[in-house]
């Protein structure tokens, strides 16, 4: 962390966060009731996906979250995006947060590409004027062209992902969360996406990136947070973070 960055106010604060998932034993009111009578476990077997994780991301900083599968990286992003709530500690964000997380979740196959662009952009928090203004750029970036008025169910999976990604990346944002998304589409489109993310980083947007692609992460981020089995084990310059991650 350079001095100029630490002087800026943080955009994301993660403080003492714990997320516990319950491995559930009952799935209906009846089961829960009978288990209670029999004095068996009702909710039970907690599992800490994240345990006492603390860090903050300064405004304009790009931070990578590194870790092996199941280490709790995606859970962390979901906590920052608000989809999940922490069981202990707190998460705070400043400004508009948008995520490149499972793009296309809000797409409806029966609607046209155009209708889906509007619907999804609105789901991601934009109003009509903002979408109108960006619409042409979204379509151009996705390279969908004349198919924009076709129903999305007729799209190839590549077209679908390109459009979904294009909507998500054009959202008005201050903080961008990226979860292993750059596996979208063919090589030229991937390159375009990486460039776009670079562009956003250059424009001073705050980024929190989860990826297994070490080359890309080292290129995009200056700092890395390593998570292992739900605990933060390293926080520092990206090159050292990658080493720490591969250490064991």
């Amino acid at each position: 962390m350079s001095d100029t960055l630490t002087q800026k106010r943080p955009s994301i604060i993660v403080e003492g966060v714990r997320k516990t998932f319950q491995i559930r034993h009952t799935h209906s009111m009846k089961e829960a009731f009978i288990s209670r009578i029999k004095r068996k476990q009702v909710g039970s077997t907690p599992y800490n996906a994240l345990d006492d994780v603390t860090f903050s991301v300064a405004e304009g900083e790009s931070v990578a979250v590194l870790g092996f599968n199941g280490s709790g990286k995606s859970t962390l992003l979901k906590l920052v995006s608000g989809v999940l709530e922490p069981d202990a500690g707190r998460v705070l964000t400043r400004g508009r947060v948008a995520g490149l997380i499972e793009v296309g979740a809000g797409f409806h196959p029966e609607l046209s590409g155009r209708e889906n662009v509007y619907l999804n952009a609105a789901i991601l928090g934009m109003n009509k004027a903002e979408i109108d203004e960006r619409f042409d750029r979204i379509v151009e970036f996705s390279e969908i062209g004349e198919f924009i008025d076709q129903e999305v169910k007729h799209y190839s999976s590549g077209m679908f992902l390109r459009l979904a990604f294009s909507v998500a990346i054009h959202v008005e944002l201050d903080v961008l969360l990226v979860d292993e998304i750059l596996s979208v589409g063919d090589a030229p489109f991937r390159k375009k996406c990486t460039e776009k993310i670079h562009e956003l980083a250059q424009a001073g947007k705050t980024m929190l990136i989860v990826s297994h692609n070490m080359a890309m992460v080292q290129e995009l981020c200056e700092r890395g947070v390593v998570i292992r089995k739900g605990k933060k084990v390293f926080d520092g310059p990206i090159a050292e973070a990658v080493e720490a991650m591969n250490a064991k």
């Binding site: 403080e15 989809v83 029966e110 609105a122 789901i123």
Partner: protein, 287 residues
């Protein structure tokens, strides 16, 4: 880190509940448009189904209650009496059923993107309201044919009845929609409520018959059902002006019932919202 100035920070995932509808107006409109546009996709008759279904239901009720059980002798313009009640209950059943399923049906979104989740039940209730309008149009047409003219009071009764049905759908919809995420039993329980709703309010019979049959305390309990008030208000709005002796068949204390029902519905919405908030924290992991 605790010394950081926290002004301007938000906790992600905390909305303002039902009130969030007001600052997500555009998204709500799009969700409603999606619901209405995709509802009858790939069907030949399309929107006609919104007429066919209540019509079929009306004819079977009319045949059994009116013709076989000879109700139309006791109740003047029985067809209009019946249809006014049927549309009110249909609106409730549709709105309440949709709202109960709304969170589970939108699991793809709920699990991945944060948006105020109350938007889902609310948008489905408004979609139910849109599908209710053609039925009201038919009812109005029938009323006009038998000489109904709108008065300020009858329109007011209709609007208040509508508000009661929608409030009750929202309150119960929030409650059961949230419970349904963790316990799918909720939707079966809701099916029972929807099945009983037609019979638990004076749709197929008159309130005077209930009053004559039930003891005083049981009648009080019967009258606590806000849907009963709503159905009576619909009767008052559409059916009463077309008859000569409406007072025999309407609720004895309709004004008091209106306030009581609005109060009960408000309490239901508060309970629904509290439970919804409580369960919302774990929607993404339970779906």
């Amino acid at each position: 880190m605790t010394s950081v100035d926290l002004t301007g920070f938000q906790t992600p995932g905390r909305g303002r509940g039902v009130l969030d509808v007001f600052n997500h107006g555009y998204l709500l409109r799009l969700l409603i448009r999606k619901g209405t546009a995709t509802r009858y996709r790939n069907s030949v008759l399309g929107w006609t189904w919104s007429y066919v279904k209540p019509a079929a239901q009306f004819f079977i009720y009319y045949f059994v209650m009116g013709v076989v059980l000879q109700f139309h002798r006791d109740v003047e313009n029985f067809a209009i009496y019946l249809f006014a009640g049927v549309v009110a209950i249909n609106l409730f059943n549709e709105a309440f059923g949709n709202a109960t399923h709304s969170i589970v049906d939108n699991r793809a979104l709920v699990r991945k993107i944060y948006l105020p989740r109350e938007l889902f039940p609310i948008s489905t209730i408004i979609i139910a309201l849109i599908h209710f309008l053609p039925q009201v149009a038919i009812l109005l047409l029938a009323c006009i044919l038998v000489g109904w003219t709108p008065t300020f009071l009858s329109l007011g009764a209709f609007v208040i009845g509508l508000v009661i049905v929608l409030m009750m759908s929202l309150g119960l919809g929030l409650l059961f929609g949230a419970l349904n995420v963790r316990y799918r039993d909720a939707q079966n329980f809701v099916e029972i409520i929807r099945m009983l709703s037609t019979w638990a309010s004076p749709v197929l019979y008159t309130i005077a018959m209930v009053q004559a049959t039930l003891p005083e305390w049981a009648f009080r309990i019967y009258m606590l059902n806000p849907l009963t008030t709503a159905v009576e208000l619909f009767h008052y709005a559409f059916w009463a002006p077309t008859t000569t002796t409406p007072t025999d068949t309407l609720a004895p204390s309709i004004v008091g019932d209106v306030f009581l029902s609005l109060g009960i519905c408000a309490v239901l919405i508060v309970i629904g919202q509290i439970v919804f908030r409580r369960f919302e924290r774990s929607f993404a992991q339970d779906l």
